[in-house]
């Protein structure tokens, strides 16, 4: 059986969720491995959520926010960047491949990019295989 990774995606309400929505209404194809959760801002995603996702069976976590300068809350995405980078460092130390956590900036017109990133991440995770628990 082919390994199908589970990706949990946290999408910001103002840009990335709209981007994912656009991918849907434009009928761009992307793998069904992604489970989106809409959050008001990408900086709402705490490392606690990311750790819990991995602990409860996610193979990858994808955080998406507005492009630099576009944050609806002025500077939320800058905090997200630092938070995700620190979390990646911690994941690496604890023995989880930091590639399993991905941060991308996706605007509301980038449906193509959303589909592209999900496709890329699914491929990558398929190659990495399931997390050894």
């Amino acid at each position: 059986m082919v390994f199908e990774p589970k990706i949990l995606a946290f999408l910001c309400n103002w840009c990335s969720y709209a981007g994912a929505d656009l991918a849907g209404v434009s009928r761009f194809q992307y793998p069904p491995n992604v489970l989106p959760i809409r959050v008001m801002c990408s900086s709402r995603v705490s490392p606690e959520h990311i750790f819990q996702a991995f602990d409860q069976g996610a193979d990858g976590v994808f955080v998406a926010g507005c492009h630099p300068g576009d944050c609806h809350y002025i500077n939320g995405n800058y905090k997200t960047l630092r938070k995700v980078k620190l979390t990646k460092k911690m994941l690496e130390q604890i023995g989880i491949n930091p590639k399993r956590l991905r941060l991308e900036w996706i605007s509301s017109v980038e449906g193509v990019k959303f589909a592209e990133v999900v496709r890329e991440m699914t491929e990558e995770l398929k190659e990495l295989g399931p997390i050894e628990r």
Partner: protein, 328 residues
């Protein structure tokens, strides 16, 4: 009748036992109000003494130290059976503590490091659980795969965190427990250490991470001066002692009540406090440089709480990717 108390240590340094002795004169009041029926560290008691007691004979068992060997599990089970209430005393017992950082290595790695490296005279002689010598069988407790907080092996009624618990915290807990006024389950503040910290906050972004010797102490918030101080993610109740003595909080009182995970909460706080000038231009390289200044995030942010955290121990995912395909 006087209530009966027991004190026992599992994988601990002995500091928690000293913390009991540190009650000083209050210890004399304690023995007047209660009988100590088991305290192997300070008085001559044997395990068989506890085994002879009836069930629920002890009123409060204070157990400190993490659960590391099979003996710790057996003693915890025994004391649970013989006690009405069990109190996890100290950070190791509450969250796994410093011995819990060993969860970053496997049992095999640890034993190999100790018994099979250049520093060992006779290589690869590992301790065994059972050994026959002169017709006698000698036994040793088994070293378990990981360090655990007490709560993972038995039911715990009360928690007194701290490394070691502050005298005031211990006295408050003893007073309310012995008088049956135990309205608290965790004897730490519901608020963070920052609430008790007298230092001045200016809501300043920190642009670099520093070590304690690199700053001039002028009463300003240590975190804002660039020291990774765990105050925001740590429960108060200690009176911010370390911070008052110009030393950053290292998190021994465990996570605040609303935090699920101390280290994760600290990353979130630090990520908000960290800032580079002109962050709008977002040079990723600069952000990377700033993050790289934090050398050991797990050791710093989970110093006392790794076994109680969400991820608990080292995962084997990266080791696998090193051997297959070499992607890491």
């Amino acid at each position: 009748m006087k209530p009966k108390l027991a004190f026992y240590w599992c994988a601990s340094c002995g500091g928690c036992e000293v913390a009991i002795l540190d009650l000083n004169e209050a210890l004399l009041d304690l023995v007047e109000k209660a009988d100590i029926v088991f305290w192997p560290c300070a008085m001559d008691f044997k395990r068989s003494d506890v085994e002879k007691m009836g069930d629920n004979h002890i009123d409060f068992s204070f157990i400190n130290g993490a659960i590391r060997t099979s003996e710790d599990v057996e003693m915890a089970d025994l004391l649970r059976k013989k006690s009405k209430h069990v109190v996890a005393f100290g950070s190791c017992s509450c969250f796994g503590g410093i011995p819990g950082l060993a969860n970053l290595s496997s049992k095999k790695e640890m034993l190999e490091r100790i018994y099979d490296t250049e520093s060992t005279e006779e290589r690869a002689v590992f301790p065994s659980v059972k050994f026959e010598f002169d017709g006698e069988i000698l036994t040793l407790p088994e070293f378990l795969d990981e360090a655990k907080p007490l709560e993972e092996v038995i039911k715990v009624d009360y928690f007194i965190p701290g490394c070691p618990p502050q005298t005031e915290q211990t006295l408050e807990a003893l007073d309310s427990l012995l008088n049956g006024r135990s309205d608290k389950k965790v004897f730490a503040s519901a608020k963070s250490v920052c609430e008790e910290c007298p230092r001045q906050k200016e809501d300043k972004k920190l642009s670099t991470i520093k070590r304690i010797y690199e700053i001039q102490d002028d009463g300003r918030c240590l975190l804002e001066q660039g020291i990774p101080c765990l105050g925001p993610a740590t429960a108060g109740g200690c009176g911010a002692r370390c911070v008052k003595a110009n030393y950053p909080c290292t998190g021994c009182n465990g996570p605040t009540q609303e935090a699920i995970d101390q280290g994760a909460r600290m990353i979130a706080s630090l990520a908000s406090a960290l800032g580079i000038e002109d962050e709008e231009k977002m040079e990723e390289k600069k952000v990377d440089e700033l993050i790289d200044e934090i050398i050991d995030p797990v050791g710093t942010f989970y110093k006392f709480s790794l076994p109680k955290s969400i991820l608990k121990k080292r995962w084997r995912d990266l080791d696998k990717s090193k051997t297959i395909g070499g992607r890491s």
